[in-house]
Symmetry: C2
């Protein structure tokens, strides 16, 4: 008999079916037992009466893998609208030891640390299944939209010869008889590839040797990168960002309705995104909160919260762009605003209280890039292979990077990025 | 004026359009010049008469970025069926130095090493653009098919605590005050995730500290991984492999017709794939080629070529499965054939002369896995986080991994994997 998925049961009323899955729960009463069987599409309720079939479950713990042949009967009080009765049970993989915590309670009880130590087990909790199913949709939504916009997907090396985003925070790798580094981002490679495909994206791991194990940092994360040429200004990049976020959120809304409901996620609507220049944001903070930030070269976490409050109050938007950060604080490839080169065509997108995306326009002129490197006292030689892309004709271009785990955390209201990462890596954690 | 892509020109006859792209070629005659402008969709031919517009190109080299406003006129002799005339030119990014080799000749002239040294420039050659556009389609085809089959995409860590596929060939990373390793594959993680989602896939980098810089090995490659539960035997995994390969090839056939033609690629048809057990393959080699392989625990490159010859001749198939390799030569998670445990439910898929995919069924029983580890003298402790997935109920499962660059090389008839890798990594090459 071919397997039926639990989701298909309502279409099989009156039929004999074969189910396969995990024993999610069992509740026993004198006259019958309710067995909840979990498969990748949901849960089925199986009604077992005392007898040899129920006996087969004797001594088995939850998460045992079962094959159940049974008859689908209509049952209004059951969540699926059906129950399975007259079951024949085969034990496929017995579990004899009680798990480290319960998977069939609404809320996960263990501390985050205990949970992560037992991720192989804990990720089976319905709330975790829902979160990481949404992650899969976020990745799919990102790619599908960009492919439809003429982007080409690329895979660039994670083993690199030098640090791209500055010398700190980089992991050294023993690469035969020399030292390589783990890429902090695909930045230089995606810029090169604008010369080839105009529009490129990459989904891949990025590595930061961040020594602080805070809730907001991971040492390895999934970076949703994009770079596009023939732009007029960074506005074109910001528009593309808005549209791809819309597409991702729409994908989650339509494909993960059940998961969104289970997690009580509130998916934001994105219409126009309000935008403040960095100095305007500081001015707004001075006016509304009486704090003078004019000597600060960057936004503090408190600034970001205030800016998001402003966006919500004045524009009804959970997203706010802050643009034109001081050039000196931005990487060497950032494009200085021609009208005010002390500031750059760079942006952060803030969402629900803090930064979600960084991006901007890049320098595309070879001579200008060489000049900036010299001004900053950076040796151009290690960047030769990158600079060649500019020497031989690069259109105005820009891009951004979204941290996938961060986006999902913000959507799901998770306080710690470790809740939206399958197997997080930090200074204290390298397993499982 | 909004930009028109060169592909759209045949629909704009008689209209004034704005094109943007790279000066791919220019050929000058006394009365006029042919300028070929390349953008992400193809090439346009622009007819320039002597005068101030043509003057603007004086001293510029190919790859200069241009903006061209002109009128689209029908021209049968032109590849697109149209030319662009009455052009106004804006030089967006001038190139003043001749590139290291020519991009507008059919065949790339430089040696592979020179080409790779100038990848940022050389990847703009139309043959390279075609190859890596097909790579993008291969990735998209893989994902789209698997999502439609109920798979969930996962992202698992590339920084790991120990070697998964054996102790050699692994890159050590200085991870704060200890040593981490770069994942050789997502093997153990994708197996864990079968317990969560039943069916998972991942596209990501994999790292092998392979010391030999042969045409068939890279130190970093893109691994198309898959793992699925509730299988009856490895046949289910092999079927899924056949179907996903069909889907990928079909995606290339329909989305990259132009690239396939340019590269003169012959896309294989996959119907039924013939299959030999390892010992049957050796027997076939003895019978057809008189070579006794019965003492060999693995296939040699010559064996693989012979087996592919057999597949082509006897079954008209460029793909051949070889199954049931000796258990002792396969990793500890390989499932021993219950009828003949000296051999395992493992397979290689050979394609056009050599191995393309490895896969198989895995041990899903906790006690059995512990026993195999003990037999092999492998300490179970480092695998604790992995083994937990089996302790708490794992269905029969299996999977495989396809090297994306290898698949593309075999499809494109490329002799060296470095031709189908954007920025290849080997013992001698870490840049660009």
């Amino acid at each position: 008999m071919q397997r039926t998925l639990t989701r298909e049961l309502p279409q099989r009323i009156g039929q004999r079916v074969l189910l396969e899955g995990w024993m999610h729960n069992i509740r026993s009463f004198p006259d019958f037992s309710f067995l909840i069987l979990r498969d990748r599409t949901g849960n089925a309720q199986v009604i077992l009466e005392p007898g040899p079939e129920l006996e087969k479950l004797h001594g088995l713990q939850n998460e045992s893998v079962l094959r159940i042949e049974g008859t689908v009967v209509e049952e209004e009080r059951s969540p699926l609208g059906v129950d399975v009765r007259d079951a024949w049970i085969t034990v496929v993989a017995p579990v004899t030891e009680i798990g480290p915590f319960e998977l069939n309670k609404k809320v996960l009880k263990p501390s985050l640390d205990v949970f992560l130590n037992h991720a192989a087990y804990g990720l089976r909790h319905p709330s975790r299944i829902a979160v990481f199913r949404i992650m899969s949709t976020i990745l799919a939504g990102y790619r599908e939209f960009l492919l439809s916009e003429g982007f080409t997907e690329i895979s660039t090396p994670k083993l690199v010869g030098g640090a791209t985003e500055g010398g700190a925070n980089v992991f050294p790798v023993q690469y035969f008889d020399r030292t390589a580094y783990l890429a902090q981002s695909p930045q230089l490679y995606k810029q090169i590839m604008v010369g080839v495909f105009e529009r490129v994206f990459e989904i891949g791991p990025a590595f930061r040797a961040e020594e602080h194990a805070t809730s907001r940092h991971l040492n390895e994360f999934t970076s949703l990168d994009l770079e596009m040429g023939f732009i007029e200004s960074q506005r074109d990049v910001m528009d593309m960002l808005r549209r791809v976020l819309q597409a991702m959120i729409e994908a989650v809304r339509t494909r993960n309705a059940r998961e969104v409901e289970l997690l009580r996620m509130e998916l934001p609507r994105i219409e126009e995104i309000p935008s403040l220049k960095f100095r305007e944001a500081q001015q707004m903070i001075l006016e509304r909160h009486g704090e003078d930030r004019s000597q600060e070269p960057d936004l503090s976490p408190q600034d970001e919260r205030w800016i998001c409050e402003w966006g919500e109050k004045e524009h009804g938007s959970q997203f706010v762009f802050v643009t034109h950060f001081p050039s000196a604080k931005k990487p060497f490839y950032s494009f200085p605003d021609p009208e005010d080169p002390e500031y750059s065509e760079t942006f952060d997108l803030l969402f629900r209280g803090s930064e979600l995306v960084s991006g901007g326009r890049r320098i595309n002129d070879y001579a200008q890039q060489l000049e900036v490197l010299e001004q900053r006292g950076i040796d151009a030689q290690p960047f030769e292979g990158f600079l060649e892309a500019f020497k031989y004709g690069m259109p105005p271009e820009g891009g951004f990077a979204i941290g996938a785990e961060r986006f999902l955390a913000r959507l799901a209201g998770a306080e710690n990025l470790r809740e939206t990462t399958l197997f997080p890596r930090d200074i204290n954690r390298l397993t499982p």
